[in-house]
Amino acid sequence: MSPIVTVRGVRKAYDSGLVALHSIDLEIAKGEIFALLGPNGAGKTTLISIICGTVTMTSGSVSIDGHDAAMEFRAARSKVGLVPQEIAVDIFQTVWNTVTFSRRLFGRPTNPAYVESLLRDLSLWDKRKSRIIELSGGMKRRVMIAKALSHEPDVLFLDEPTAGVDVTLRKDMWEVIRRLKDRGVTVILTTHYIEEAEAMADRVGVIDKGRIVLVDQKAAMMQRLGKRQLTLALAEPMTSLPPGLAGWPLELEEDGQRLTYRFDASAATTGIQELLRLVDSLGIAFSDLDTKKSSLEEIFVGLLEHAA
């Protein structure tokens, strides 16, 4: 399938000499949820701002659904919705007016039925006549999303959608994003919450210091880079590893109460069976066992350490 967003060689250098982005190449497939993951200052916001046209690029090109973002900006931009990180909305307007304004600004004919369903979806219908200044922070964020979706975009950019948002609202946001995906909308979100990328994304791009370090399917990334571990809760604490276990990648933790075995999740043979047999034959008793795979967070930290 042809990509809905194509970024080629996008570079951003400021007059001060600071290079925010070093020649970024990225393709986003239609209908996927893509998470751009990176620490603060990595260039996430700069990249999506360039794609959406609010920041100029030094060189490179962007196209949306085959339309060059510079040459055919009308066709390209009408397909894109952007929810910026900061809440930026005319606070003296009513919810209804600001959302219908956005729809017309993006060149769509007025459609009260659509706006109504949008506001109902985002639990804003009861507030439609309220001025934005009267709304809570969470409600304001929903208004920002309603504005970005007002013109029925094919691609939605969410810049740090849940930064500074409470748990309930975060879960609501995720639910909204899932429903958009079901409707065929491509969602690109930036986040520095690994949890968010892990919960939401089909694919994850890791960006650091203006470079894309890695782009992969979330599952593949976790499999390829993830480690699994087996932990045995020992019945009797050990002060050191018995010689019979030498050569195994084992560690004693928590004052010798736990024995941890780290192994490659994608390896053909994990070695668990042999290890357990060996432990048994050495007469080591354990009261519990637990396996765990590493989180995206651990992968991410590992990647950045590797890149640095």
């Binding site: 931009r77 003296f92 060149g107 013109h151």
Partner: protein, 258 residues
């Protein structure tokens, strides 16, 4: 999946949103210039004007009407248009305009058109107020409307540039108070530049406001400090100069885009 955007839909949306903002603040928008102008009539028309002779065959109170309208028109155009674009920059809502399928030209027509429309309305309200205070006749109504429109557009464009240029509220206020007010006071709103010593007369000819007031006054009483053609040419030149600056701003993204 989605159809091409409707042409000019965004431009109209900006224009109507700006006009709605005017209506929302109608009381301040209209009351201030009307009260200010009424005060000028009391002071210059009533108190001082009664001791002055006629200027060019026109009673002093009537003579200052076109100048007073210009005074408000310039101030209102500059402040309306500068705030209209400065405020979205300040609050961050400009991102939506920049990311919309709207060309710079359309955005300018939306913002500047709304600011100029508001100025024209205020100019007409002041004219109506003036006719209640002093005898006013308009010899060339079509030209009067033309100068009203062109001046509103010219100074709304100028205000739009200031709104983009300004980095804070102080800068936003400094141009109207340090440039526009002196130029309008020295622009012949309250006197004919013939009354000035020759040196200052010559200096005055470098003040663009002289041409606006003169042309506007000509449309009322059939006489001005400079010929109406020169007034018209000067106004059009000012508009073109502003458009030139805006073209540069949009090409470079100056203070609009990082």
């Amino acid at each position: 999946m989605s159809a091409a955007p409707i042409r000019f839909s965004g431009m109209l949306a900006i224009y109507q949103a700006e006009m709605a903002r005017t209506v929302r603040t109608l009381w301040q928008s209209v009351a201030t210039p009307v009260v200010t102008t009424a005060l000028y009539f009391v002071v210059f028309g009533g108190a001082i004007g009664s001791r002055m002779q006629q200027v060019g065959g026109v009673e002093y109170g009537s003579f200052i009407v076109p100048g007073l309208i210009m005074l408000s028109l310039l101030g209102q155009s500059v402040s309306n248009a500068s705030i209209a674009i400065y405020f979205p920059k300040f609050t961050g809502t400009i991102f939506e305009i920049l990311s919309a399928p709207v060309s710079y030209g359309e955005a300018v027509v939306g913002y500047v058109g709304a600011a100029a429309s508001k100025s024209v309305m205020i100019g007409l309200i002041i004219l109506a107020t003036a006719t209640l205070c002093v005898p006013v006749r308009i010899m060339h109504p079509a030209w009067m409307v033309a100068f009203l429109l062109l001046t509103s557009i010219a100074f709304s464009l100028f205000g739009f540039i200031i709104g983009i240029w300004a980095k804070n509220f102080e800068q936003l206020a400094i141009i109207p108070s340090l440039v526009i007010t002196p130029l309008t006071f020295l622009g012949g709103a309250f006197y004919s530049i013939d009354m000035l010593p020759p040196v200052w007369r010559t200096v005055s000819l470098f003040n663009p406001v002289v041409y606006l007031v003169s042309g506007f006054r000509w449309s009322f009483y059939g006489a001005g400090d400079v010929s109406v053609e020169v007034s018209l040419a000067a106004t059009l030149f000012f508009i073109l100069a502003c458009l030139g600056v805006l073209k540069w701003i949009f090409r470079t993204g100056y203070r609009l885009k990082a």
